[in-house]
């Protein structure tokens, strides 16, 4: 489905965008009509009105009423033809009718591109394309979000992914409606559906008696004006000619002497269907619908651009594999289940290392599992997880194909995921269980890589080395953005007295701009928000360490808190910095860890150096009540941001500050304070509060348990809040 969605999307991009833009322009017409058409007061009956018009418009031949209620009288006075807008109450001429050349042009452009049937065909294909994209997009979204119920949950992912998903979610109903109705109208044009044409019959001749006054004609008097579509007057010099009337429900003829209906042909069911679909597609006479459809159409160019960007970024992330062995020759097989393409980078590194060690290695997507690998003695499966534990794109068919596998190589499964998701490496676990059930012998127990960690991958490489008895060095670093130099401006040290040194470092933001624009998935190193990550490369290493940023680039500085870890290469390097020293670093946006835009309360829970991004949120807060829980060791030593928080409390940017210090008498952990404040927390959650947690993994787990305990009486859990995007974690 993803492949179809991507391919059809790219192929039809230009056409769909064209149809959407012209469609948007046309959606303005009903809105304009609604504004310019005079509201109908106490309208007379069709008979009265026709009489009034006949008196005031000499030589009137027909009276047409548009969907917006506008009445136009067409006349021929013997020398000149005229078309006038008439007042529905008085029948008097209001002005000359001139159809808008602008909308006429766009209507034709939208319907047929001025290419007659070929253009109609292209328009039909575009409709069908948008319909297929909307449906496959919904399918993808359901899978990505982990089910129908989560369809409206918070979107995760990169900039273009989030924009694409959010926009599509808002516009999809309108797009489905436009595309489905457009497709039907095209099918009707090519006569692929039952004909909606009214059957034509020549009008019957009237009695030819002396015509009665128009206002007295019963057939016309019985007709409400709102039902009228068109009224054709009989020829002036022909007593046997008849009134021809088209209404919302059919078409008939009325004798001009007796006023009786000579015949009436009701619309066929297919004609009614077509008219309804025409109304849904054009919104003519229904300005609200037109506005909805217009807004939906307006989303299409952006959806096309972001869709193309996602496709291109995914494609770019695929590495080229050198010396890939055919499956029959290989002694080692690597299968890759990747969603975004990032897993391929790790797999390529494994392929390179194994090849260098003298193995004949075949690498392929998991979907390309063969029935047999005659020479293979080892199988490595590297699998990401998609959404709520589903197979990633390149592995969807794997479990089905596994049933046919005849070979029995020893296997090792490596999962890729994010520990902050509940289903960490869930799909990889499924694969491991299925391989074991199929009778394959495990070479290594399953292992998980958290957030593309190079360190996790290198560690797994060492286990593989031991298991296969060959020296492998796995050093894959996910394709990293180019680094920029940040110069240290200021350094403050905390926590030395309590054996937990934390350095608060402030770097100047560099002046130079680089990379792709943000909406195409690139990012500017000068632009970041509190909560984004900075990847820092200590000298002599290629493996970045990530720190949460406490400041926003608008402040002109990049601020982080670094806890010194014994033997930690990067933290020791950073602690050793003096003002004026430079580091090599890059910004990694972390859009999933940001407070939502709202006025509802925000609960921030942090411990130690994990307070950094939370302090940033408090600093930029203007209107939300923020309740901050902070855990440290000793208020006299490692109370980071103490003065800043006091100031924020005084200024109202912070509503409450609750601290927990573990090294003082009667102290405790931040979890304990949460349990103390359970009642207050419940009230906050009930009023829609969002919770954000930052700190070490143990602390995050402890906080989760504490919050679960607090929420129990509400029948809620952290899991429920996470689904709504109301519980965000940044744990390390």
């Amino acid at each position: 489905m993803r492949r179809f969605h991507g391919f059809a999307g790219l192929a039809g991009l230009a056409l769909a965008t064209f149809m959407a833009v012209t469609g948007f322009v046309l959606s303005l017409q009903p809105l304009l009509d609604a504004v310019t058409t005079a509201p109908v007061g106490d309208a007379p009956s069709v008979a009265e009105l026709a009489g009034l018009v006949a008196e005031q418009v000499p030589g009137v031949e027909r009276l047409a009423r548009s969907a917006s209620g506008q009445l136009v009288a067409y006349a021929f006075d013997g020398t000149a033809r005229s078309a006038d807008i008439v007042d529905p109450t008085t029948g008097g001429v209001i002005g000359t009718y001139a159809p808008s050349a602008f909308f006429t042009f766009f209507t034709e452009l939208h319907r047929s591109l001025f290419l007659d049937w070929a253009g109609h065909g292209a328009a039909g294909i575009a409709s069908l394309g948008i319909l297929a994209l909307s449906l496959s997009g919904i399918g993808l979204l359901v899978r990505k979000m982990g089910g129908w119920r989560q369809l409206l949950a918070r979107v995760r992912g990169t900039g273009p992914q989030r924009l694409h998903t959010s926009l599509a979610r808002a516009a999809v109903i309108a797009l489905l409606l436009t595309a489905a109705t457009g497709t039907y109208m095209s099918a009707a044009y090519f006569e692929l559906v039952a004909s909606s044409d009214s059957a034509f019959s020549f009008p019957p001749a009237g009695e030819g008696a002396v015509p009665a006054p128009i206002a007295s004609l019963e057939g016309l008097a019985s007709l409400p004006l709102s039902e009228l579509r068109e009224l054709v007057f009989p020829a002036a010099d022909d007593a046997s000619d008849v009134f021809s009337v088209t209404t919302a429900t059919g078409q008939g003829y009325i004798d001009q002497a007796t006023g009786a209906f000579l015949s009436f042909t009701p619309n066929s069911i297919w004609q009614q269907v077509y008219e309804f679909i025409y109304l849904l597609h054009t919104g003519q006479g229904a300005p609200l619908l037109a506005a909805l459809l217009g807004l939906g159409a307006l989303a299409v160019p952006t959806l096309a651009a972001t869709g193309a960007a996602i496709w291109w970024l995914r494609r770019r992330a695929m590495p080229r594999i050198a010396h890939n062995q055919p499956p029959r020759e290989a002694d080692t097989v690597i299968l890759v289940g990747s969603e975004s393409g990032s897993t391929w980078g790790f797999a390529a590194d494994l392929h390179k290392a194994l090849s260098a060690a003298g193995h004949r290695v075949h690498i392929a997507a998991m979907n390309e599992l063969r029935p047999a690998y005659p020479r293979a003695s080892r199988l490595f499966v590297l699998a990401a997880t998609y959404g709520d534990g589903a197979a990633p794109a390149s592995a969807r068919q794997f479990l089905g194909r596994l049933k046919a596998l005849a070979s029995r190589p020893a296997f090792a499964v490596l999962g890729f995921g994010d520990r902050s998701f509940p289903q960490f490496c869930a799909y990889a676990s499924q694969v491991e269980a299925a391989l074991a059930a199929h009778g394959l012998r495990p070479l290594l127990p399953i292992c998980g890589i958290d957030r593309q960690s190079s360190a996790d991958f290198a560690a797994w490489g060492r286990s593989v080395s031991e298991a296969i008895g060959a020296e492998l060095t796995l050093t894959h670093i996910p394709p990293r953005p180019r680094t920029t130099s940040f110069v240290l401006d200021e350094r403050t040290l905390y926590g030395v007295e309590v054996q937990a040194p934390v350095a608060l470092l402030r770097f100047a933001v560099p002046k130079r701009r680089s990379g792709l624009p943000a909406w195409l998935g690139g990012h500017d190193h000068r632009q970041f928000e509190a909560g984004d990550l900075v990847g820092i490369l200590p000298p002599g290493t290629d493996i970045p360490r990530y720190y949460s940023i406490a400041s926003s680039s608008r402040e002109g500085l990049m601020e982080i808190c670094v806890r010194k870890q014994a033997g930690g290469l990067c933290s020791e390097f950073l602690h050793g910095l003096a003002p004026g020293d430079a580091i090599e670093a890059f910004i990694r946006p972390n859009p999933d860890f940001r407070p939502e835009r709202s006025r509802r309360p925000l609960i921030l829970i942090g411990a130690g150096a994990g307070i950094a991004p939370l302090a940033g949120f408090v600093r930029s807060n203007r209107r939300r009540p923020i309740h901050l829980f902070f855990g440290a060791r000793d208020p006299g030593s490692d109370f980071l941001y103490r003065d800043e928080f006091q100031e924020a409390l005084a200024e109202g940017r912070l509503t409450s500050l609750t601290t927990a210090f573990s090294r003082v008498l009667g102290g405790g952990y931040v979890q304990d304070r949460l349990l103390d404040e359970a009642g207050a927390l419940r009230d906050l959650v009930r009023s829609g509060a969002q919770i954000m947690v930052c700190g070490g993994r143990d602390m995050a787990n402890g906080v989760r348990e504490a919050i679960d305990a607090c929420l129990m009486p509400l029948g809620l859990s952290v899991q429920d809040l996470k689904r709504e995007g109301l519980y965000l974690e940044d744990a390390y």
Binding site: E61, R62, T104, D197, S198, F200, F202, P203, V232
Partner: protein
């Protein structure tokens, strides 16, 4: 400019049985240049009293639009039914010329008979008697008032 030519075989009393008493009349309707859908046209003959006598040609295939050719429809309905077999063809776009050939009996020529052309365009205008020209032995032409730029007759 695309020429639409059509041969007309009228099996009515209007057409003389022998070549000697009938003339081949050529009617050309030159359309104005306009954008939009191709036009529906009805070309028909009326007698000196103005009564409808016969249909020479109808352009356009979807019968649901025939009702918009008012003058013609009125004439046909008073005369009774009509068969369009062999005297209908494609609708005519802006700037094109419709050419109709008809064998008319000598008795109809220079005798006050007139040829009427009604035109109509989907989502556009409707013109009964867009152009009207008398059937004369001399070539003649008149200007149209709607989608027809010029209507001419020759034999």
């Amino acid at each position: 400019m695309k020429k639409l030519a059509a041969m007309l075989m009228l099996a009515t009393a209007l057409v003389a049985p022998g070549v000697a008493v009938a003339r081949d009349v050529t009617i050309e309707a030159q359309m104005v240049r306009y954008s939009g859908h191709a036009a529906y046209l009805a070309v028909y003959l009326t007698d000196p009293s103005g009564a409808y006598r016969s249909t020479l040609w109808v352009s356009g295939h979807k019968t649901k639009y025939y009702g918009t050719l008012r003058g013609w429809v009125r004439g046909v309905s008073q005369a009774g039914s009509i068969s369009l077999d062999g005297i209908s063809g494609a609708s005519v776009g802006g700037g094109q010329t419709l050419t109709v050939h008809a064998d008319l009996a000598d008795a109809l020529i220079d005798a006050g008979y007139t040829i009427h052309v009604d035109t109509a365009v989907e989502n556009g205008g409707e013109f009964a008697d867009d152009a009207v020209i008398e059937v004369t032995s001399n070539s003649a032409s008149v200007d149209g008032s709607g989608y027809i730029d010029k209507l001419s007759i020759s034999m």
